[in-house]
Amino acid sequence: MVKIKHIEINGLRGIKKTISVSLDSSQSILIFGENGSGKSSITDAFEWFYNDKVEHLSSEEIGRGGIEALRNIFLQPDQEAYAGLKFSESKYNSIKKLFYNKSKLSTEIDNSTKEFEDYINSSTSENLILRYGDLLKFILASKGDKLRGISQIIGYEEVQKIKEIFKRAVNDVKREIKLKNFEGQTSNRQTQMLTQTEQMIVDDRGYFDAIKRLVEPLNLSAEIMSHENIESVLKTIEQPENRELLALYLSFETTLSKLDNFIILVEKTKKSYNKFIEKYQKIIEDSEIDMPEILVEIELDKILYKMESDIVQMGLKFEDYLKHLNKKVEDIRKEFRKDAEKKAKLGLVLNKISEVEKIVADEEQVAKEVAMILDHYKEADPERARLHAKNVLTNEKIFQFLEEE
């Protein structure tokens, strides 16, 4: 830190002849004296040296920041007034002169180095002089004025100024938010997001999490931690090649959901089939009918016909199939005899129910079923297909009736 070690004053204020004061002390220095003895002249000299003005001398009558009143009145016009300072670092030593140049009051400083200029500039940002009058004024001032006063002394004014600017800017922004109904817009957006993400979003974090869940099925391996991330994800999705991939993923998703539905349907069908079997067994067991042999033979024919058709459908010959099993047609007929009896019995029962309850298959449905059979089994006999379809559909109707019963 630079310290003032010595001051020499000549012709300033009450000091006509040169005075020289040593300030080379490690402690505080107190200058005391009677009124008019020149104490203020020393402080005025200091103030002028640093600030190029003397605040308490400034008035409308005395121009140029009080400098007009700074020269000792007994000085001759050709005599120079000056204040010379010596510092702890001699590079700052300098003398500031106040003199008349062609009847115009001028000042001049003999140290023109950059270092000295910087020193003076940084010194002017500090308040070097505190006068009794200023102190009294401060004590009597209001709280706000005191704050302003202190701010001025410690150079806090600039901080205050910036603070005020920020405060006004914040108020302006707040007013704009109110005027443009941003709150309303925010609530609208929230409703919109609630519908699209099925989640109440009130902050960025919630928004990012919701978006993360939304894009998860797309396997984009993108991080969603900021609005910029979301923008880049949107851009990725918008790219044509990704659009195809996206469509693929979406169709995959749809297929999966359809498959889920299909599984449910299969389960349902399985259940109703089990019910059907239960009823079927019950009907067979409950009915006491003497079975005509011819009907059992017809059923056996049907079973064999179905078997043969299935084998041919697979591209094989029925004879080869029998050879492979090492069986004859008669063996097969024997094996399936019980099933045929059951079927014949069921047929009779169902015929009776159909007759009594007048349950007959719908002709239109029969025609559709026949068309389907013929389409599937190209070699099938249309009349037999019609009989088969009529039987199946009538039976379905009877079971439906029994179920409702």
């Binding site: 806090y156 910036i162 920020f166």
Partner: protein, 61 residues
């Protein structure tokens, strides 16, 4: 704690030099404020105008 006594000017200068390091401060806004201060154009009207510009830029993406 920093024991050095700072002038108001120093405090403000340091504030604008470190404004973007403050937690929760948007970097773009910090840059705008520091620039306005540096250019000696820091007024409430200029701040509001610059914020509006930033908003528009953000909306345009």
């Amino acid at each position: 704690m920093d024991n050095e006594i700072k002038s108001g000017h120093q405090i403000v200068k340091e504030f604008f030099a470190e404004i973007e390091k403050i937690e929760g401060v948007n970097k773009n806004i910090a840059d705008v404020l520091a620039r306005l201060y540096k250019e000696d154009k820091l007024t409430d009207a200029n701040i509001v105008n610059e914020l509006e510009k930033l908003k528009q830029e953000k909306l345009r993406g």
